[in-house]
Amino acid sequence: MTKPSDVITASEGEVFDVELEVNILKENQRLASENKERLHALGVEAIDVMGSVGSGKTSLIKAVISRLKKKHRFAVIEGDVTTTIDADLIASEGVPTVQVNTGKECHLDANLIKKALDKVALDKLDLIFIENVGNLICPAEFPLGADKRLVVISVTEGPYMVLKHPMMFLGASVVAVNKVDLAEAMGVKPEKLMDDIAKLNPRARAVPTSCKTGLGVDEVIRQLGIG
């Protein structure tokens, strides 16, 4: 958009108002688009996995890969503040992993993903999971270039967690409501969380899951369209 404006000639040291429209997030968005194009050119689909600390993101990725690894070629980018614990867990499924340690940052960004993609043999892949740093706020602000967003929440986060963190669900394609095997002990109704998700984002598909029992993992695969 170009704004109509007069051309002013200023003297040295004079003060002027410069009107403009610069989106300061556009650099991350540009890099995210580059990542997406790079993956699409090689026919690789990317899924950004977000959710709170301990909601079961890694366990769900592991469960999905375990079911599909004979059908698709996977890689996983693991984002954490520190340690390689998650990458090591996923590597036990025999798929290539890249650990990204953000140090102080509470989210992954498109530039970190660009660097991580350099470390993966993209031409030998069908699907990449990008596990974001466990956090319900910041990652929603930084698109990475993924095709779909899988949000993983759990009943252990309490009955109001969807209502209290609406931003995370607005861009979600699929939401796994995990640890439903603990719902009774927690006194939390998974249906209530599913209902909150449906009202907040009618386009998101909510699936009750338990990575412990395997419940719902096939449905997550179906809803992600990667079966």
Binding site: S5, V7, I8, V18, E141, L200
Partner: protein
């Protein structure tokens, strides 16, 4: 916490602009932030104070304008500016986005801005006082 990162982007964009315009001092910066951006204005301002130190931005006044989004019902075409902090319209924030007219789900337009809209700065004598919008 991501406010510090985003303020880093802000400072980089401003320093680019200052270099491009040949300015020696920036006095005032206007930033438009959508209310759906999950950005704490106080934290952005605090980070700006730290990040602008030792640059031509130091001491400049960061003015943040918050912008509402628009709700749009694709079923009945209802459209209205909305404030995600309005408790009467959206209990607890924005978790219930039903159309107030027909009850169908709403989509949201805008409210996600993060844009520098105006910078007050000194300019050298041969400068043009405006830049083309990007």
């Amino acid at each position: 916490m991501h406010e510090f990162t985003i303020t880093t982007y802000l400072v980089e964009a401003l320093l680019d602009l200052v270099k491009q315009k040949g300015s020696k001092q920036v006095l005032e910066v206007h930033l438009k932030v959508g209310k759906l951006r999950a950005l704490s204005v106080e934290q952005v301002k605090f980070s700006y104070g730290i990040l602008s130190k030792g640059t031509v931005l130091e001491g400049s006044n960061l003015i943040v304008e918050e912008a509402n989004g628009t709700i749009h019902c694709t079923t009945c075409n209802y459209r209205e500016e909305f404030n995600p902090e309005d408790p009467l319209l959206f209990h607890y924030g924005l978790p219930r986005l039903d159309c107030p007219n027909c009850g169908n789900p709403l989509s949201i337009e805008g409210g996600d801005e993060c844009t520098i809209t105006k910078v007050r700065m000194t300019l050298p004598s041969d400068a043009e006082g405006t830049v083309e919008a990007q």
